[in-house]
Symmetry: C2
Subunit: 266 residues, 2 copies
DNA sequence: CGTTCTTATCGTCTTCTGGTGTTATGTTAT
DNA sequence: ATAACATAACACCAGAAGACGATAAGAACG
């Protein structure tokens, strides 16, 4: 039996999904041998090793002779493959809601979040548009679109996030000023937004400074989690968008704390 | 009959090749109708339009009702699809020669040239390595490689070159200093390197300032052409690599002018 | 020195998407 | 209004790449 992390199991190719599941399995067990995984997932040793190689490349596990061990769960949680797997329907709803705010001719900044990626899919038709992002999948997609001015935010590539970061990226952000920022984080308390990794926080903070209207996209799973680094108070965002499945009693505290919460329908 | 721009017709997918040929056709005829192209290339109207859309996106032609017209040939010549089509064997040889200069642990900068792209293919095995580039195909490829620190040089995306440029890019370059720069240009005289587009020149100049050892990759076709903007004297480059097919009487003038010319074998 | 684990290489299979034409609908000119 | 042209929306096909396992060669461990 495979340990199903999340309810949602659509989207994403089979190997990628299995890799995410293996990652979860490893995190859960601390450390396991290749043979354990062969049994648990019913694939050949070779395939297991290939999966583990990829996960190691992304920085999620460490390989040693005889098995693998998990890295701190923080990096697992910010792993792209994992994130792509979770709450895709909710993210699509958030993206549609965000899209409605954008008018042709505007400039938009996107962070390296899968929610932002969902938004990119909807850009065709709101042209012309200027989009700045440090997220490689988003960059690749936008490069193929007409009538979109793409401003890539360079920096040091992170295989875990599939995006660019570090000081070079922060500097690139600082040179800009856009109408909108759409971003997401890994955890949201009633008062603040949080993220696990300091490097990412660095870039996100810069982005917050570089945009006029700041929008935070939050699927309801984020509201019950916590993470290490405090990114910013929710009142720093002009809008906080949550999905429809968010229970009322989680929304109220946000509003009480002064956040401007909107609910994305469907 | 299709107008064959260059002797070489390998590499590159069929549609991409046809698009390059269509582009050449349009440049030659100044302006043509879609139906002309249907006859000339033996494909359906729909396909012609799709090709033209793509070429327009790249900035190579302008569409209007009833046909298309050519843009200045300079942009045609710097079109990626076109460049990928030319002298692939020579570029591979140049790349192999360049590869031999690189040792594990070094930092390398690449410009948005197809010669540089050929070099990327050879990077596996020279790890660890730090690579900085503004060329999207190179970035995508490098992102998948292990043990390579990828530093993306962001900026404004150019569909024609499939790379990032402008001031943001130049600034990103200025913040760096690498061991090597491998770059190429569109034309080389006995004394100078040239390029058609000012924006590109801006970035390349910055790159020249940001690297310790500067290597210019030149396939022999470049030696008989000229272009608008003077980029730099050849003596600014530590090495100028030419391919084996270059006639002696084209190499001698370069050496006489003080360039350090090396010939890439095979 | 053998055992266990890992990697390399090959062949097969499948999946998928890129490329295309056809038909139908929309748009712009005259 | 109608003809010419452009786009949109299917559906099809093929080639390529991905995914996987079996086997064999290689490396680390005891």
């Amino acid at each position: 039996m495979t340990s199903d992390v999340d309810g949602d199991t659509t989207e994403l190719s089979r190997p990628a999904r299995r890799q995410a599941e293996i990652a979860a399995y490893v995190v859960e067990h601390g450390s396991v041998s290749a043979n354990d995984l062969v049994e648990a997932f019913g694939v050949s040793v070779m395939t297991v090793h290939r999966d583990l190689d990829e996960l190691e490349r992304q920085g999620v596990v460490r390989k040693y002779r005889g098995g693998v061990s998990a890295q701190p769960t923080s990096v697992f949680e910010s792993n792209v493959a994992y994130r792509l797997n979770t709450a895709t329907a909710e993210k699509a709803a958030l993206a549609r809601h965000a899209r409605a705010m954008i008018e042709p001719g505007m400039s938009v900044m996107l962070d390296d979040s899968t929610s932002a990626l969902a938004l990119v899919e909807l850009f065709e038709g709101i042209t012309p548009l200027t989009v700045a992002t440090n997220f490689l999948p988003a960059i690749s997609k936008l490069a193929e679109l007409r009538d979109i001015t793409l401003l890539a935010l360079g920096g040091i590539y992170s295989p875990t996030h599939d995006s660019f970061g570090g000081m070079p990226c922060a500097e690139a952000v600082e040179a800009l000023h856009t109408d909108f920022l759409f971003c997401s984080v890994s955890a949201v308390s009633p008062t603040h937004a949080f993220h696990q990794e300091e490097e990412i926080v660095l870039v996100k903070r810069a982005m917050l400074r570089a945009a006029k209207t700041k929008v935070l996209l939050v699927d309801h799973a984020k509201l019950q989690r916590t993470a290490l680094h405090r990114l910013a108070p929710l009142t720093d965002f002009d809008v906080v968008v949550v999905d429809e499945k968010t229970p009322e009693d989680l929304i109220t505290p946000l509003r009480d704390a002064g956040a401007n919460v909107e609910v994305a329908k469907l």
